[in-house]
Symmetry: C2
Subunit: 230 residues, 2 copies
C-alpha cells in the first residue's frame, strides 16, 4: 500500500521547508506555491523548486495569484506602502499583512487536495512568531477546517494540519535540522532577492531564531544584527 497523499503549501521559506520535512515522513507530497505579486516572488519560486526537488516531488503546482497585488493594501505587494524595519516588540498588525492572504491560499490547496484525493494539507503557520498576522493563529485554522467539512463533497475527508503552530522559531530550526531539512535552500527575506537584508520582519524573526538556537544561518545576509532573544 502506498503512502497517503498530502498537499504542502510551500512558500520557499524556512517554516514550510521544516513542515515539508515533517510531512515527508508519512506522506507522498504534492507541492503547492502561490505567487501573489510579492516583491521577492522569483527568488521564492526558485527556493520552492529547489525544496520540491530535494523531496523528489512529482506533483507540483504554481499558481499566479496576481489579484492580491491588484487589491493591494500590503507593503509586500504594493510598492506605495514601504516595508518597515522590524520591530519585534510591536503588537500591531504589520504593514506586510496581505489582507486575508492565507484563506486565499488554503482555498486553492483544498481545491487541489480534493481533486488529488489527499487526506491532509500541511501548512507551516506559526502563531507565536507570526508578527501579529491574524491569519496565522490556531483558531483561524480550526475555523477553516469547519469550512472544509461544510464546503467539500460528503465523501471528501480533508483537513489542514499546522505542526509548527505552537513552536518558537528556534524550536522549528532545531526540528528541521534533526529531520535533515534543506534549510540552505530556503528564502525568507521580504525585501531582496540576492542576499537577505537582515532587517525586515521576516529576516529579523529568522535571525533571532537561529541566534536563540545557537546555530549559524546558512543563508547570506547583507546585515546580520544581533536580536534580543524572545
Amino acid at each position: 500500500m502506498g503512502k497517503k497523499r498530502a498537499v504542502i503549501l510551500a512558500s520557499g521559506g524556512l517554516d514550510s521547508c521544516v513542515t515539508a520535512a515533517i510531512a515527508n515522513e508519512e506522506y507522498e507530497l504534492a507541492f503547492l506555491h502561490l505567487s501573489y505579486g510579492q516583491r521577492t516572488q522569483s527568488r521564492e519560486l526558485q527556493a520552492f523548486n529547489s525544496i520540491a526537488d530535494h523531496y523528489r516531488a512529482i506533483r507540483r503546482l504554481v499558481v499566479p495569484f496576481s489579484h492580491l497585488s491588484a487589491i493591494g493594501g500590503s507593503s509586500l505587494t504594493d510598492i506605495a506602502v514601504p516595508i518597515s524595519r522590524a520591530d519585534l516588540t510591536n503588537k500591531e498588525v504589520p504593514t506586510s499583512y496581505v489582507p486575508f492572504r492565507n484563506a486565499n491560499m488554503l482555498s486553492v490547496a483544498v481545491s487541489w487536495g480534493e481533486v488529488l484525493g489527499a487526506s491532509t494539507i500541511f501548512v507551516g503557520a506559526v502563531q507565536e512568531d507570526s508578527s501579529g498576522y491574524p491569519d496565522c493563529r490556531k483558531e483561524f485554522y480550526d475555523a477553516f477546517n469547519v469550512v472544509i467539512k461544510c464546503g467539500t463533497k460528503p465523501t471528501t475527508e480533508l483537513s489542514i494540519v499546522t505542526p509548527l503552530i505552537e513552536l518558537s522559531k528556534a524550536e522549528i530550526i532545531l526540528r528541521g535540522l534533526a529531520l535533515g531539512a534543506p534549510l540552505h535552500l530556503t528564502w525568507s527575506c521580504y525585501q531582496r532577492e540576492d542576499v537577505a537584508c537582515g532587517v525586515c520582519d521576516s529576516c529579523a524573526l529568522r535571525l533571532r531564531g537561529f541566534q536563540s538556537a545557537g546555530v549559524e544561518d546558512p543563508v547570506l545576509y547583507l546585515e546580520r544584527p544581533q536580536y534580543m532573544h524572545a
Copy 2:
C-alpha cells in the same frame, strides 16, 4: 453621510443580479467577477459588465482564476468531463461541481472588501435550488463568517450575507422583477455563449423557475423544455 460599501460577487447570472438589486437599495456596490476557465467565461464577463453598468458601478474587479481549471475535476472547466443533461431529481453532487470554488471566490472578496473598508459581502447563493453543491449551503457561509472574524484585522468588521439562500428560483425571479433587476442582461447557461442551451443544470433550474413564476424568461434558448414544478 454616504452609503455603506459592499462587495458583490457577480457571476453575470440571475441570482447574483437579483442580489445586486437587493444590495443596491442600501449600499454603494463594488462588483467582483472571477473568471475561472469555465466554458462560457467570455459570455459571463459580458453579462457581468452589463449588470455593473446598469448599477453605475465605479469599482469593479475582474480576477483571472485560471488555477481552478488547471486543477480540474469539473465539467465546467475540464473539457474531458462532459456536461450532463439536467436531472433535477438527482441528489448527488453533479459533475459541474468545481472543487471548493466558492471558498476561493469568497476569499478574494474578503481581501478586496477589507482593503475597501466594506462592511458586507453579498453572495447570491441559493440552497434549495443549488443542484447539490456542498458550498451553496447556509452552514458553509456561517462557517466562513467565523473564518473572516478570525482571519482579518481586529478593526475589520466584514461579513457575508446571502439574501436569497432560502428562496426558490421562482421567488428570486419575482423579487428581481419587483426591484427592477435587469434580468434580460443575465447569462446562466453552462454550455453555450450564443443562445442558452435550455438543457444543462443551470438552464433547467432557471427555466423551471420562470415557468413556476408564470413569467416569460427574456433570454433566448435553443430548446425550451417544459420542466416539472418543484
